[in-house]
Assembly symmetry: C2
Homo-oligomer: 337 residues x 2
């Protein structure tokens, strides 16, 4: 492996000048620059990151933290966001270090190694994440961005999904296709996204003069736990028991919707003729299940890209006030509605 020294010697200049060229800083005569560039090519020289990092006191790493349950079980949603970040970081100077944390995270004992050793320049937190972790990052003055989550009353640098409008659109479409008795099946409101989706559901119904307090009472099933197909299964049973005329269900996400569809199929209801089903997220399996699930597409790769962009902006140009960037979503009509 050749070093900057080799390049300098071969090009007949000093180490400093080579460094200036590599980093595009200071004044370097055009011919000198050319000469150095071609020497770099010739020797196939690549700066050694550890040396560079030592000198600059940057780590060149960005941490990506996701709750372990979200990473392992709730499908591939947060992995796709990670991948979007990775794509964005590929041609730049960062590596993304992925790790998971437990729900009962304890900063004293469970700190990800890259935080303990300050081996990252910044951190992206994806989805519901322990609040004491956020606090830790604040205390440590570690730059961070929150993706698809938020804490009521607090404002952080974050990337959020336009959950309200996504839900609103979906319900609007259902109503326009003739559905009138539209149920909601959802999970944990700890997650503000789900709360927002419910708000979109309600306001769309109200906008069409359909929803009112009684309606929402009868047609909503909300269970305060992590979403899963089981919640969908229980939810649809509950709704059917209380409302014989139910003709559509809007689910807080695709995972739940799949549970709903399985249960409906088990009961020999026809989807969407008897009951239409709509999800949210557009996870991989939603287009595979049968009938293919109508849903609201969340552009996961793009979210990752935006998260990367924001965290790097913050690292290099600390913002005075926190930024919130909203990612818009799109209703995807498939066979289930």
């Amino acid at each position: 492996m050749s070093t900057i020294k080799d390049v300098a010697k071969k090009a007949g200049v000093s180490i400093s000048t080579v460094s200036l060229v590599i980093n595009g800083k200071g004044y370097v005569a055009p011919e000198t620059r050319e000469k150095i560039m071609s020497t770099i090519q010739e020797l196939n020289y690549k700066p050694l990151h550890s040396a560079r990092k030592l000198a600059t006191k940057m780590t060149g790493n960005i941490g990506y933290i996701v709750w372990d349950v979200h990473f392992s079980e709730v499908e591939i949603f947060y992995s796709q966001i990670f991948l979007g970040m990775e794509y964005a970081a590929r041609d730049s100077e960062h590596y993304i270090l992925l790790t998971t944390v437990k729900e009962d995270f304890n900063p004293k004992t469970d700190l990800p190694r890259f935080l303990k050793y300050r081996d990252v320049d910044g951190v992206v937190l994806a989805g519901r994440v322990p609040h004491n972790l956020i606090k830790y990052l604040e205390d440590q003055n570690m730059p961070f961005v929150i993706v698809d989550y938020g804490i009521p009353g607090k404002v952080y640098n974050s990337i959020v999904i336009d959950n309200f409008n996504g839900a609103f659109q979906a319900i609007d479409q259902l109503i326009k296709s003739g559905k009138k008795k539209i149920g909601f099946v959802g999970g944990s409101f700890y997650h503000p996204s789900i709360k927002e989706r419910y708000r979109g559901y309600k306001e769309a119904l109200e906008a069409h003069g359909i929803g009112n307090i009684e309606y929402f009472n009868n047609y909503s099933f909300i269970k305060e736990e992590e979403t899963s197909p089981e919640i969908g299964q229980n939810g649809i049973n509950q709704l059917l028991k209380n409302n014989e005329n139910l003709d559509a269900v809007f689910c807080c996400n695709d995972t739940t919707a799949i549970g709903v569809m399985n249960e409906l199929k088990a009961q020999n209801k026809s989807i969407p003729k008897d009951i239409a089903v709509v999800g949210f997220d557009d996870i991989t399996s939603s287009s595979f299940c049968s009938p293919a699930l109508s849903t609201v597409r969340v552009p996961k790769l793009d979210i990752g890209k935006q998260a990367y962009k924001l965290i790097t902006e913050i690292i290099y140009h600390p913002k005075e006030t926190p930024q919130t960037r909203t990612i818009s979503v799109e209703y995807i009509k498939r066979k289930s509605s």
Copy 2:
């Protein structure tokens, strides 16, 4: 942030001695060691990785490469293996850098950045991966381990799944439960795992005196492409057309099995009464679908752990001859069989 210098000064010893204590090398008097340890605690000193790496010429990183299609679309299989590695690496000295490559990978243009800059001490390749990438690693003398893949006629350091026995067991169970006409639905034999699963299927049938050439001809559907639910759908239709007496299907993996089940349900066949279905892998959705899918559980986290163990062994103690370590699997009976 305190440095080794601060520790040395406060403990009243030289930098070298502190370094020896940190790395557990050389001779250090017990009292001195104690003193230094407590000083480290007091100052909350953490060695700076970039400095350490510069001195040792190690990067402290391990690359994890997976074909992009496998990462994004074929469920969470390879993400779980990654997570297993991450768990194993947590308390040690490595970070795992995850990246994906395209199928038509070109070493000249598509090289992952961590390879281009030699920012990893070793690499783990998961699943089907471009052969020219493997060649590149060999040429570069970069230590690597292949997980769940292999190239006929070549032997590499690798972690493989006991596909043969898994399939054998599954078929054995099906036969013992009274099934006689067992079909096989599978995808790309480019992937040796699938080939092995097919071999397990055949030999189990032969062992029971059931299978013969004609039988296998009639009851096998093999499509040379990436596995997907569609293959399952097409496969089961084909098998049903040619064999009215079909009473079970063994699928090369769960993704395919889900396609088979969906199609059977659409045709109002009862699972498992009319036709039993068995998959392979035990991906998350296999326990969620209805009826819950019987399958062969592949311990993904454990595979990741073993991969980490092997690559670190190779990095620190290069092996003369390549190691192949086999991970055993377990048949999981659920409702679909």
